[in-house]
């Protein structure tokens, strides 16, 4: 190898096929389909997209677009508040579902439904529930108080909260399931020993459960944050970014620019998210490929 690299042509390198074992040749053949898909549908689009977003004027335009700033703030709220609430609930419920009861076992089968059904019909179902005129929630409020209910999706704060709620509804079962797996992996005799010592439930959680689960919990939270950056459905199908484009998040904003035929702005808005995404991705890869 050193000889060929040094450019000495007097000793020809052996032809490729004789240097590789048949198994390695097959290895390359079998890896080729994925490499082709990767080149054609990941590398090319990403490079092309970056090239489209290369002009600095795009970033000036984004900076001057109040909708972009609002979407960035909304995304942060979604991630920092929404995800942490979701993971805390998941942590709490994982303790609940780890209880040995027949009815809790059945409940856990039902609990997984939001994860198992497609999000489109269920999000639209929530959307109609929140309809100020015909929705069941407004009807209930009217029949109990005689007042009209609030116009849920017409207030940006409430609408964004509802979108976060829909997101939590959809993905809570998945994270709870994973945290249950983590909880069940803790050796049972630790709890028995703590029981004998008369530990309170908080002490058991603080000194047994949490130390064994914290790595898993942090990993899950980070992973959920990365994925939630791409949660298009919860916002788009519930609020459509409205009212007045005040509830966009970065993933719906990119599509909004695309629909307005501002492709370079769409790409630029995604590039702007990369400083947040890439460190998280790097950190996750470090964790998972240990």
């Amino acid at each position: 190898m050193a000889i060929t690299l040094s450019g000495d042509q007097s000793i020809p390198a052996p032809p490729l096929s004789s240097r590789l074992t048949p198994a390695q040749v097959w290895g390359i053949v079998l890896l080729a389909p994925y490499l082709l898909v990767f080149l054609a549908f990941v590398v090319y689009p990403v490079c092309y997209g970056l090239w489209l977003a290369r002009a600095p004027s795009n970033y000036v335009a984004l900076y001057n677009d109040p909708i972009f700033a609002r979407a960035a703030v909304n995304t942060l709220i979604f991630l920092v508040i929404g995800i942490n609430i979701k993971m805390l609930i998941a942590l709490f419920l994982s303790g609940f579902f780890a209880q040995q009861r027949t009815w809790i076992k059945w409940l856990s089968v039902i609990f997984i439904l939001p994860w198992a059904v497609p999000s489109i019909p269920t999000i639209l179902s929530v959307r109609f529930m929140l309809n100020p005129e015909w929705g069941v929630i407004s009807h209930l409020i009217f029949s109990f108080t005689g007042d009209d209910g609030p116009n849920w999706l017409n207030d940006p704060t409430v609408a964004l909260t509802m979108a976060i709620g829909v997101h939590i509804w959809k993905s809570l079962p998945f994270w709870t399931l994973i945290l249950i797996t983590g909880r069940l992996a803790i050796a049972h005799d630790l709890f028995e020993a703590a029981e004998v010592d008369g530990a309170s439930w908080w002490q058991k959680f603080r000194y047994i459960t949490w130390p064994s689960m914290q790595t898993l919990y942090v990993t899950c939270t980070l992973l959920s944050m990365i994925w939630t950056l791409g949660d298009f459905n919860s916002v788009y199908l519930l609020t459509g970014g409205g009212p007045a484009d005040l509830t966009h998040v970065l993933s719906t904003l990119g599509i909004r620019y695309l629909r307005l035929d501002q492709l370079s702005l769409a790409m630029a808005s995604i590039v702007c998210a990369m400083p947040f995404v890439l460190p998280l991705v790097y950190f996750m890869m470090k964790r998972l490929s240990r």
Binding site: F41, L93, L113, T122, L177, L288
Partner: protein, 283 residues
Amino acid sequence: MKLPSLREVATEARLLLIGIPVFLWTMIPIYHMFLFAISPKEDAFSGKLWPDHPTLHNFEIVFKQQHYFLRDFYVQFWNSTLIAAAVGVLTLFIATAAAFSISRLKVPGGRMVLNLALFTYFIPAAFLAVPMYRTMGNYGLLNNHWSLILAMVTIASPYAIWVLKQASDKLPVELDEAAVMDGATTLQIFRLVYLPLMMPSLVAIGTYAVLLAWNEYLYAFLLLSNDRQITLPVALGNFLAADDSPWELLMTTGFIYALPPAAVYYAFRRYMVGGLTAGAVKS
């Protein structure tokens, strides 16, 4: 029969205090959808918790395609099925081949390909949608089912490769060595030793890819637009185009659309929970 002690009753009550809200929280949007599906229009819009005259009339309208929004229902259902099946098959093929190559044949550079795949897996799919849309336009595939199939294979493969690679690593090397001693070729090892042993993971990954494709909304709505090309979720989204949308029909169609994935999920739950959660987060 032993009477439960006061303490046991208190514990049970506390658990119920958590269980009942969890049940309601989970079921309300799904029940609401079901309620609309069995309600005549007047009942659905009057906010009743149970219709005065439950009916299957909405299903009849959907199955007979008797509404403007539903005129291509069967075509769209078929599109969804076909695309989901194609994505399942292609993903399984690509990912199994790649996992075998990286994990069993130790192909040079395999580790790097795996890291690239993992990297793709973590980049949110919605961010790739914009450049992907443009790329499909460049390839001349817009409004062609292949665009959605290839896009979904791209999104499903990284995770599939990763899970299958992890599962492959657990198979003992001695099996391959023994097969080689017996004079088996690489392809024979793949077909006769590797595939049968990997079956549970393959079922999990196939199900994952099929469900991912069946449930996909964003890519489907970007890449397909012709009424006879689109998949069911896009058709559901199109209901919202009109101000006086027939919500009871939308919910009925949505209910029908949600049934197959739910059924598949519950049928393969055993594989899904074991195969996927183990791969999803390694603590």
